[in-house]
Symmetry: C2
Subunit: 117 residues, 2 copies
């Protein structure tokens, strides 16, 4: 993943509505969720939501799937993983201690995963 791709993915996630949307889809799993349902769930008008769905899709973080007349969106695991790999190479390889949360965190480190970034 190139710097520009990572930047695009981060841009897609850098907006409150889209971050909420992303979180919703992450928890909705492989079945995903149809656009209309998302619209009512998040209280976002359909045209606005459609815009955000496209942003996340273009960034490769989610993917659409038509079922009859509704279009279901689900997370794109590979896309997410690519972003994480980029950040990992970026951050961890340069400074391993940033990734190892278990030994360094002072304030809030109860039962968190061992490696973060």
């Amino acid at each position: 993943m190139e710097l520009q791709d990572a930047s695009n993915a981060l841009t897609a996630l850098s907006q409150t509505s889209r971050l909420e949307l992303f979180r919703l889809l992450v928890t909705s799993g492989d079945e995903g969720m149809p656009a209309g349902e998302i619209s009512t769930a998040l209280g976002i008008p359909k045209p606005t939501l459609s815009f955000h769905l496209k942003e996340l899709s273009t960034a490769g973080l989610i993917a659409p799937e038509r079922h009859g007349r509704s279009i279901t969106y689900k997370i794109n695991v590979d896309g997410i993983r690519s972003l994480m790999e980029f950040l990992t190479e970026d951050c961890c390889q340069g400074r391993p201690e940033l990734c190892n949360i278990s030994s360094t965190s002072s304030t809030s480190s109860n039962s968190l995963p061992t490696n973060l970034l």
Copy 2:
């Protein structure tokens, strides 16, 4: 870390110049790097760079430190960790398989940390 804080941090990283800047500071370690040096290293005019430095500082990802007449910037480990924790709770708790790169990655997975997000 709240949704808004995470969104702010992601916004700060979602711009090519700032992502490069962040990467540079990550690799520059605890000594950090004075603004002028960064300016020439990245080829960004000082006022523009100053703007980006402020964005990353406000987001809590880097921190300034004055030494004589120069101001050195270095990464803020705690801030970075907070963001990672947020993403971890967000993403991993919902779908653990997204975080476990060791078992699933196909292309570029030699000697990477076990958990990503």
